[in-house]
């Protein structure tokens, strides 16, 4: 039998709701299986751990040819319609409702929960500098702001997953 996975490092690089959730679900799922997990937020993914932004993430409706209404098996939404004002707001509302039905917590609660499972949470130093942010801008669950080199050090023996 193949060697089981012992440790994962999950990078979250996008700041949309559908860009953040998969990484969070994978990190939490890893901990549930007894796998060590580390989360590393970079570029717009950082929005998921910025105090003022984490409660307001939205579904990206522009440039998404897979977007269908009113549900996944409904007719495709012409891509240009994704740009209509209110579209992202509407799609976000729909997705949040479905997510809640599955008992998946909102971003802030999910980050707290994942941190409580023993998963370490880091922000990317290059992005923090580029966006002129400081540690104070982040939610308390962010353990540290680290460089890519430190990320690789902490990921020793890990499977690295980029999302």
């Amino acid at each position: 039998m193949a060697e089981p996975i012992k440790k994962v490092s999950i990078v979250i690089s996008r700041g949309s709701l559908e860009g953040v959730y998969p990484g969070l679900i994978m990190a939490n799922g890893a901990r549930m299986e007894g796998i060590e997990a580390t989360l590393f937020f970079t570029f717009f993914g950082l929005h998921a751990v910025i105090e003022k932004k984490m409660d307001h993430l939205k579904v990206a409706t522009v440039g998404n040819p897979a977007m269908c209404v009113p549900s996944a098996m409904g007719p495709g939404l012409p891509t240009w319609m994704g740009a209509i004002p209110g579209m992202s707001w509407f799609a976000t509302g729909m997705m949040k409702k479905e997510i809640e039905k599955l008992d998946i917590p909102p971003i802030r609660e999910f980050i707290e929960m994942i941190h409580d499972t023993g998963c370490e949470i880091y922000g990317c130093k290059a992005t923090v500098d580029m966006f002129h942010l400081t540690k104070k801008d982040f939610c308390p669950q962010v353990d540290d702001i680290i460089s890519v080199g430190q990320f690789y050090e902490k990921s020793a023996g890990s499977q690295i997953i980029f999302t």
């Binding site: 679900i25 939490n28 549930m32 007894g34 599955l102 008992d103 998946i104 917590p105 929960m113 409580d116």
Partner: protein
């Protein structure tokens, strides 16, 4: 199907090593399963989680999500991971005599 002895009782196990038949479960079997999971003693807090999971399973047909479990049992996420180190949902379900939980959360 594998058969193994727990607390002096021969019980059938499913493919995941969990009890195949709920009716085989009793508190002594739970204690023996716990030892196998690296938990030498089932204290009150652990029983609280196990009994909650059994109650939920009976009502819904699947083990509760960790979120529901922590919200309703009064055992928070941190404590849950201390009580059942290395995979709380999976371990607690096995000790509770339930199949491996199907949910992702």
């Amino acid at each position: 199907m594998a058969v193994k002895e727990y607390a002096g009782k021969m019980v059938e196990l499913d493919a995941d090593g969990n009890l195949a038949k709920q009716t085989d479960w009793n508190e002594d079997v739970a204690k023996a399963l716990a030892v196998e999971e690296g938990i030498p003693e089932l204290n009150d807090r652990r029983w609280l989680v196990i009994n909650y999971m059994r109650k939920e399973f009976e009502a819904k047909g699947d083990a509760p999500s960790i979120r529901k479990l922590t919200k309703e049992s009064g055992v928070d996420t941190k404590e849950l991971y201390t009580l059942f180190p290395g995979g709380p949902a999976k371990k607690a379900a096995r000790i509770a005599g339930l199949p491996k939980p199907k949910g992702c959360i």
